[in-house]
Amino acid sequence: MTRFPAVLVARRNLSRNRLRSALAALGIVIGVLAIATLGIFGTVLQLSATNELGDIGNQVIVSPNPDAGSDTLTSRDVREIRRAANGRGTVVPLVASGGVVEAGGDGTFAQLYGTEDPAALFEAQAGDLPRVHRQGAIVGSEVAETLSLSVGSVVEIEGNRYRVVAVLAESESITPVQPDGAVVLPPGEFVQSQPTQVVVQADSGSAATATAEAVRATLNARTDRVQVFELSSILSTIAEFFALLNAFLLGLASISLVVAGVSIFNVMLMSTTERRQEIGVLRAVGVQKGDVLRTLLVEAALLGVVGGLVGALLSGLVAVGLAAFVEQISYDVVFVARNGAFLVGGVVFGVAVSLVSGLYPAWTAASERPVEALRD
C-alpha cells in the first residue's frame, strides 16, 4: 500500500487525536521559535555592534612616549611607521592641539587637527575634502552647528582667519579621532609642524593588529619611543562577549525545547499506553519489534519535523519583521549565513529532541511481549 509503511501508519496514528498531536507539535514550534529567534537576535546584536565599532578596530594610533621626553614624532618615526604599515592601510600623520574657534562673535572650543590627508580619516557632508590640504578649514558637524557655519563661512582661530572649505559628516562610529567637535587645518598652520600622532587607517582589524605589532617591533625595539594604541584586540574581546551572550540566549531558549521534549515524551507515553493492544496485535501478526519501534519513532519525528518547520518559518518571519520595522537594524545583518544556520539548526535540534523523547516510550511499547499486551 505504500513504500514507507511506517510513515503511513505513524501519520494515521497522529491524526487519531489531532488536538493532542497539534499541542505536542506546538511545544516544538515554540521551542524552535525561541532557539532560532534568540540565536538570530544574538547575531543581529553582534553584527550591529561590530558595524558601529568597525572603524575603531581598524585604526592604529601611534603617539610619542611622554616618558621618553618628546611630545612629537620625528620624520624618521613617521618613515618607519609607513614602512611597518606598508600594504596594510593608509598612514596619516596628525598634528593635534586644542583652540577656540570664533565666528560672528560666537566662540567654541574645538579639537584642532592638522593633516594633509583629511580624506583618509574623514567624510564630508558639504563641500569637498581636498586631496592635499593646503588652505582653509574643515569643520566638524558640531562646530558647524554651534557657530552656524557652512562652506564659504569664515572662522577665526588663534588670531588667524580661515575660509571653511568643507563640513564633516556626523560620525556614525566610535573612533579616537573624533571629527564632530574638531576643526581640521593644514599642518603648516600649527606652531610645531612635527606630528603629535600618526593614525594608521588599516584595511581590516587583523591588518591593524599586524601593523601595531610591526610598529612596536621596529620603533620600540630598544627603548619605548612610542605608544601604540589599537582596539582590534579589544574588539575581539567584545566579540567573545557577544559569543557568550549568544550562548546564554541559546541556553535560555533550549529550556523551552526541553519542555517541548517532555511534552512529546508525555504524549508518546500516553498514546503507546492507549494503543498497547494494537501494538500487541502488530507483533502477533508478524511485525518485527524493530518495525514497531521505527513506526513509533517516525511518529515522534513527524511531530518534531512539523513543529520544527513551523517554528523556523515563524522565526524567519520575526527576523524579517525585525529588519523591516526596526530602523537601527538593516537587512544585511539579518540575512547572513549564521542566521540561516540558526533556522536549520533549530529544526534539527527540534527533531532530535522529539526523537530522544519518543525513544523511551517507543522502546517500551515495542519491547513488550505481545502476549502481555493482548491480555485485557
Binding site: M1, P5, A6, V9, R12, N13, S15, R16, Q277, E278, G280, V281, L282, R283, A284, V285, G286, V287, Q288, K289, D291, R369, P370, V371, L374
Partner: protein, 298 residues
C-alpha cells in the same frame, strides 16, 4: 529455558495424540503444529501455577480443532504457546515439522508471520486503517506476502471479497458490524497464506447467527488445507470442528465424537448454514452446557 527437561521423552505418551490423529485420517501427514509434553508454569513469589501440564497435542493440515474448557483451564496459554507468543516451560514444540521450541523473538515473529494467522475475540483491527489496509497489515513492513512476490493489496482485496466484504474494502473498522470486523480479521489472518489459524473465542462477541457465518468461514478455510484451532466457550464452535479437545486444569483430553460432529456438516459446504441452524436449535433445546453433557471421560 536451560532447565527444559526431557526426562519423560517423546515416547510413548507424547506421540499418542499424533498417532491417534493419524489413524483417524488414515494417512501419516506431518502435523502442522505439535506440542510434545509441553508444560507451562507461571511462577510468582508465593506460588507456581501450572497452566499446561504435560500436554501432547497435534493438528493435521486442514483440520478444525476446538479447544474447550472452563475459565482458567489453560486454554489461552495453550493458544499463546501454539501461536509462538509464549514459550513452554518444559517440552517441545514443532511447527510444520520444524523445532520451534527455542526461537529468538525475531525468529518467533518471523514464524508467526509466515505460518500462523490470528483471530481474536475483540477482532483487534487497527481503527486508523481501512479494511484493506488492516488485511495487508501483516505484509506491510517487509514488502509483501510472505514467501511470494504477490501484490499484497490485490490479495487483501481478493480475500475480503471471498469473505463477502467486496463492497466494504475501503471502510474504516468503525463503519463495520461485529461480524464484518471478524471477517476482516479472518482475511488478515489469511493474507500470508498461513498453515495454521488460531482463533481465541472467535464468536465470543458475536450473536449466534453471525457466529455461524464466521464458523462457516473457518470450515471453508479448512477445505483449502489450512488448519484452524479455536479456543472457545461456545458450544456452537465445537459443532463445526472436526475434533474437540477439552482442557481441564492444564490437562488435555480428547472429547469422544458421540454426537454428529462438524465433520458431517462441513462436508457439504453449501448447506452449512441451514445445517448449523438445525443443530443449534435442537442442541439449545436440550442443554446450554454441552460441555458437561459430552464430557464423559474415555
Amino acid at each position: 529455558m536451560s532447565d527444559r527437561r526431557r526426562e519423560d521423552g517423546p515416547e510413548p505418551s507424547a506421540y499418542r495424540a499424533t498417532t491417534d490423529a493419524a489413524s483417524d485420517e488414515g494417512d501419516g501427514a506431518t502435523a502442522v503444529v505439535e506440542l510434545r509434553g509441553v508444560t507451562k508454569e507461571y511462577r510468582s513469589a508465593s506460588e507456581t501455577v501450572v497452566a499446561l501440564d504435560d500436554v501432547d497435542f497435534a493438528v493435521r493440515p486442514g483440520e478444525f480443532v476446538a479447544v474447550v474448557g472452563p475459565s482458567g483451564s489453560g486454554k489461552s496459554t495453550m493458544l499463546n504457546v501454539l501461536g509462538l507468543l509464549d514459550v513452554p516451560t518444559h517440552g517441545e514444540q514443532y511447527l510444520q515439522g520444524r523445532d520451534v521450541t527455542d526461537l529468538t523473538d525475531a525468529d518467533q515473529t518471523d514464524a508467526r508471520k509466515r505460518a500462523i494467522g490470528f483471530v481474536f475475540q475483540d477482532f483487534h483491527l487497527i481503527p486508523t486503517l481501512t479494511a484493506t489496509e488492516n488485511v495487508e497489515l501483516p505484509t506491510l513492513f517487509d514488502g509483501g506476502v510472505a514467501g511470494s512476490d504477490e501484490d499484497a493489496t490485490a490479495r487483501a482485496r481478493d480475500l475480503l471479497s471471498r469473505v463477502g466484504l467486496g463492497d466494504r474494502l475501503d471502510h474504516d473498522p468503525t463503519q463495520l458490524s461485529g461480524g464484518q470486523k471478524q471477517r476482516v480479521a479472518i482475511a488478515r489472518a489469511l493474507v500470508n497464506r498461513p498453515a495454521l489459524v488460531l482463533a481465541d473465542e472467535p464468536t465470543g462477541n458475536l450473536d449466534r447467527e453471525t457466529g455461524t457465518t464466521i464458523l462457516e468461514e473457518f470450515r471453508r478455510i479448512c477445505d483449502d488445507g489450512v488448519s484452524v484451532v479455536a479456543v472457545t466457550h461456545d458450544d456452537l464452535v465445537t459443532r463445526f470442528a472436526d475434533r474437540t479437545v477439552e482442557l481441564v486444569d492444564g490437562v488435555v483430553r480428547e472429547r469422544e465424537a458421540s454426537e454428529p460432529s462438524g465433520l458431517a456438516t462441513s462436508a457439504d459446504g453449501g448447506e452449512d448454514e441451514t445445517d448449523a441452524g438445525d443443530h443449534e436449535d435442537s442442541h439449545d433445546g436440550t442443554t446450554d452446557d454441552g460441555t458437561d453433557d459430552h464430557g464423559d471421560r474415555p
